[in-house]
């Protein structure tokens, strides 16, 4: 018997990144820009221009007209980002993970792929990481574009929030895609059901309420977005880094991703 052949799945990441950019990254970019534009339009109209007169009170408080404008923009960005981040990350995760495994199974593409010396868990695990990196890249592009047109927003908290919340959503989507056929629908259903049940029974003292911990804590995702949207200078204690919830959400997504890998390791690929 010949020795095992060295597959080159690692090098295949370049193809996976190309696929992401063409099939998922570009739609994510376009939908995000449209979402942002629809949200920004009305807000910008209400925003006083840079040359608008500034009240003496504000001048006295901030020191100069530029400082007043900067403070206004910081507030503007906070409101805008807080409002839009959740949608962008959810839609981005949905686009990135939709059919990541199930599409190959439904379309039969798995037959040629996995007759090669390739492990499905390795192949799709790598695709997950590539899509994650691609999504963060798209978000960085958007942030840079926003910075060039409106006001700089790219910050470490923003990147941490985007990268970790993507893991939260896409980890769940990955597991659903590995285990079920209708993954995008399942992700929407899980997200809605989890948010509703947490909101309805989250405060309940009933023993059965503990079962809620099996569901993702998506109802608290807003705390992460609020933190990420806060201006860099914010000293508000309420906007301190929400580590516990960030770890809970990211950990939940990461656990789902690992469970998805286990499913891929042991589940047969053929759909009958």
């Amino acid at each position: 018997m010949s020795e095992a052949r060295r597959t080159r799945v690692g090098a295949y990441a370049a193809w996976q990144l190309r696929d992401y950019a063409k099939d998922r990254g570009l739609p994510t970019l376009i939908v995000s820009m449209l979402t942002g534009y629809l949200g920004l339009g009305p807000m910008l109209q209400e925003m006083p221009s840079r040359t608008a007169r500034v009240s003496p009170t504000l001048l006295a408080r901030f020191g100069s007209a530029d400082a007043v404008y900067a403070a206004r923009m910081a507030e503007f960005n906070q409101v805008f980002l807080h409002g839009v981040l959740g949608t962008l990350v959810f839609v981005g995760a949905l686009f990135a993970m939709n059919g990541i495994v199930s599409n190959d199974r439904k379309q039969g593409y798995y037959r040629f792929l996995f007759a090669k010396p390739v492990t499905p868990s390795r192949y799709y695990g790598q695709a997950f990481v590539v899509h994650w990196a691609g999504f963060v890249g798209v978000m960085v592009l958007l942030a840079l574009g926003y910075g060039a047109v409106i006001w700089p927003v790219l910050s470490r908290p923003l990147l941490v929030a985007i990268a970790s919340m993507f893991v939260a959503y896409s980890g769940i989507a990955f597991l659903l895609s590995a285990a079920a056929r209708w993954d995008w629908l399942s992700l929407v259903a899980v997200s809605v059901v989890a948010t509703l049940l947490w909101a309805r029974f989250g405060e309940s003292a009933h023993p059965l309420a503990r079962l809620l911990y099996l569901l993702p804590p998506l109802h608290r995702a807003d705390e992460v977005y609020a933190w990420a949207a806060a201006p860099a200078h914010a000293a508000d204690a309420a906007l301190a880094l929400p580590w516990p919830i960030l770890l809970w959400l990211t950990g939940y997504g990461a656990a789902c991703f690992l469970a998805g890998l286990v499913v891929l390791r042991y589940r047969r690929l053929a759909i009958v």
Binding site: R5, R8, W15, Q107, R111, F112, L113, F114, A115
Partner: protein
């Protein structure tokens, strides 16, 4: 090299009865042989191949390739595989698809381009290398599927309906491909409805029906065995067709100078032909009505009909 040991496969149904696709299937395929798999639609051929690639798991029994569970074998060594339905993302281009598959198959980085060019030339896809998969005709798509299965020197090659959609020229060339693939340390499994194809290419042919291996026909030794057996022939006469009825009283005219001769041994046919020629007839062609494999296949299917 490949061993099916009392393999059964049952598809569970949520409503209604389970479907048994394979039952007590036992067979060994040896390195160096070309094994054909024949059977009517729904006989279990595709299920058997899915089990061999580890895309499905058996409900009973075991499948082993070189002692390994199929999925482990495929992940370690790869299997040259052409599926019945060639499914490749439609937006990929021909050459791009082959480069991707070559990379996954473990073709060394420095060899990918040259190897891809080799198989493109071998499969006559040169003028289609920049086309998208969705732009390929059925025959070209089939050749692309075949090309990707030949990228690496696999020890196990599984071809499911390989000539499906191919024109006569490429059907002929496919035989050359299989001849070129023959190697002492390689086993080639070909599943096909085309019995003529299998009888030309395979050393042995397994006939499968209703999920069971009905019989294994040794095509090469089987050809010698038919010499003494009574079987059906067709004879085509260019001149002297009226003489046929004198020599072969049971001959049935089929039109255009062709006659069906039923239940004759090869000796009887030759004796009759000699007499025809002696009487001045001119014989254009003589051939068995069914190949030996076709006869065996008909027997299996007829046995089912009789049940």
């Amino acid at each position: 090299m490949i061993a099916f040991d009392h393999v059964g496969k049952r598809y569970r149904a949520i409503v209604g009865r389970d479907v048994r696709a394979l039952e007590d299937f036992t067979l060994e395929l040896h390195a160096g042989e070309v094994f054909g798999l024949a059977g009517p639609n729904g006989a279990g051929k595709t299920t058997l191949i899915a089990l061999l690639l580890g895309f499905l798991g058996p409900s009973e029994g075991s499948v082993r390739i070189a002692g390994l569970e199929p999925r482990r074998y495929a992940e370690a060594h790869g299997i040259g595989y052409l599926s019945e339905l060639v499914s490749i993302p439609p937006m990929w281009r021909t050459e791009e698809a082959l480069r991707r598959y070559a990379q996954l198959a473990g073709v060394p980085a420095g060899r990918v381009r040259s190897r891809v060019s080799e198989v493109i030339e071998w499969m006559g896809l040169g003028e289609h290398r920049r086309k998208r998969v969705k732009q390929l005709s059925k025959g070209n798509l089939q050749r692309l599927g075949l090309a990707q299965s030949l990228l690496c020197e696999e020890r196990v090659v599984v071809l499911d309906e390989p000539t499906h959609g191919l024109d006569p020229v490429w059907t002929q060339r496919f035989r050359d491909v299989v001849t070129a693939l023959r190697r002492e340390d390689r086993v080639i499994l070909i599943a096909s409805h085309n019995l003529d194809e299998l009888s030309r290419l395979a050393d042995r042919v397994g006939i499968i029906d209703r999920g069971r291996l009905q019989r294994v026909v040794d095509v090469r030794t089987g050809a010698e065995r038919t010499v003494g057996e009574a079987t059906s022939y067709r004879v085509t006469i260019a001149r002297g067709a009226e003489l046929v009825a004198l020599v072969f009283p049971a001959a049935r005219p089929m039109g255009r100078g062709e006659f069906a001769l039923e239940g004759l041994t090869l000796d009887a046919v030759n004796a009759g032909l000699a007499e025809l020629l002696a009487r001045g007839a001119l014989v254009r062609a003589v051939y068995p009505a069914h190949t030996m494999l076709e006869q065996q296949f008909r027997e299996v299917v007829a046995a089912r009909g009789a049940e």
